[in-house]
Symmetry: C2
Subunit: 228 residues, 2 copies
């Protein structure tokens, strides 16, 4: 469902080239549960932003569900992002001065869902994330881990076929982390949702069937997870 060929991403800073992704070739079949690990600065978020159609590669092709994304217009990309991909950002990326509830409803507003249905779905997700009672809190009135869970709920609310999760448990205690991983595992096993998850926590990476490791902008290992 996700295929990249000869992928490169170079940032320019004061005319100096910063090669964040040097060259990646990768195929992730539909229904996979893949973990991506690697040192800080190794290129994981840069790679996820390209997979999530939030950024374009400097070179190489990215085929999403068989189509080369470089052929899509910006509007079509936004539509695909909203309908097919749930993105959990490393820094949450919630709208400030907007309640937890409204943040979670946002993808459903874009896809034209009725108000009644939106509120119902958002409340369901909020409760699944253990945030019942926090509907009206703004992000700055929530703890770090509560903000993270609002970001997770928002990524799941439109039932995406692909979930891209960038460090989804970085601010959560172990018990809450495992509850979130249980939700993702169920979505993968029962609904066939493809999950690509970046983490530096070994026990979180072990939920996946396949573990890919980045180092300095390259994939240095891509193995089946035998611990599963």
């Amino acid at each position: 469902v996700v295929k990249v060929v000869g992928l490169k991403k170079t940032y320019f800073l004061d005319h100096v080239a910063v090669p964040a992704i040097k060259e990646v070739n990768l195929e992730i079949p539909k229904g996979s549960f893949v973990s991506i690990t690697g040192a800080s600065g190794s290129g994981k978020t840069t790679f996820m932003n390209i997979l999530g159609c939030l950024d374009k590669p400097t070179e190489g092709e990215y085929f999403l569900q068989g189509t080369d994304v470089s052929s899509f217009t910006p509007d079509r990309l936004a539509e695909i992002r909203n309908e097919r991909i749930g993105f959990i950002f490393q820094n949450f990326n919630l709208l400030a001065r907007t309640s937890a509830m409204e943040n979670i409803e946002l993808p459903l507003v874009y896809s034209g869902t009725s108000r009644h249905e939106r509120v119902k779905k958002a409340l369901e997700l909020l409760e699944m994330m253990g945030l019942k009672g926090f509907e009206k809190h703004f992000p700055q009135q929530l703890s770090g881990g509560q903000q993270q869970r609002v970001a997770i709920a928002r990524a799941l609310v439109n039932s995406p076929s692909i979930i891209l999760a960038d460090e989804p448990t970085g601010n959560l205690d172990t018990k809450t982390s495992y509850e979130i991983m249980h939700v993702l595992k169920k979505l993968n096993e029962e609904m066939g949702v493809t999950i690509i998850l970046v983490t530096h926590e070994h026990d979180i990476a072990a939920y996946a069937q396949r573990i890919i490791t980045f180092r300095d902008g390259l994939i240095v290992s891509d193995t089946v997870n035998h611990e599963k």
Copy 2:
């Protein structure tokens, strides 16, 4: 060096009281290395913000190095924060559109250090954090873990006597996390710096001599760490 008596913190949201800290009595001697753990939303950051003189309690007293902080003027509080306390924020709190180097130099600007000395100290810290070469990057041009390390460097640059670290390794791979913990451990053992560190990672909490656990705004356990 830190003593709280009958401490309470209640937020108000649409006139509804949210008791983030219900009642805490605690004493942390100078030169301690203490870890604070607890579920997401249990009150750890709220407590750290009060210890860091960034927020006032609703009730109770907070004695910092023997003096009741409620007697300080806002200017004196800012001075104490800048000279004695190094605060590592859970969300980094870096200045946008300001380079990594300038973010780290900021506490030295406030304390009136010479330009030459500021640059020297900031470069030293940058290198200690493994960020040599990233001096000119703005926060949005850095990875999550790189931003976190800039926030750590900024907290250490003015040689504080107390370090308050709120989830300092949340975005770091294991190897980088241990390098940071090694820096903190050395500051505690060789320089007698008091360290209070919030974490949900068990192996990070184990660097401390004492582990305090919060649940729903109360301390439910406060034990010596025998694993050390």
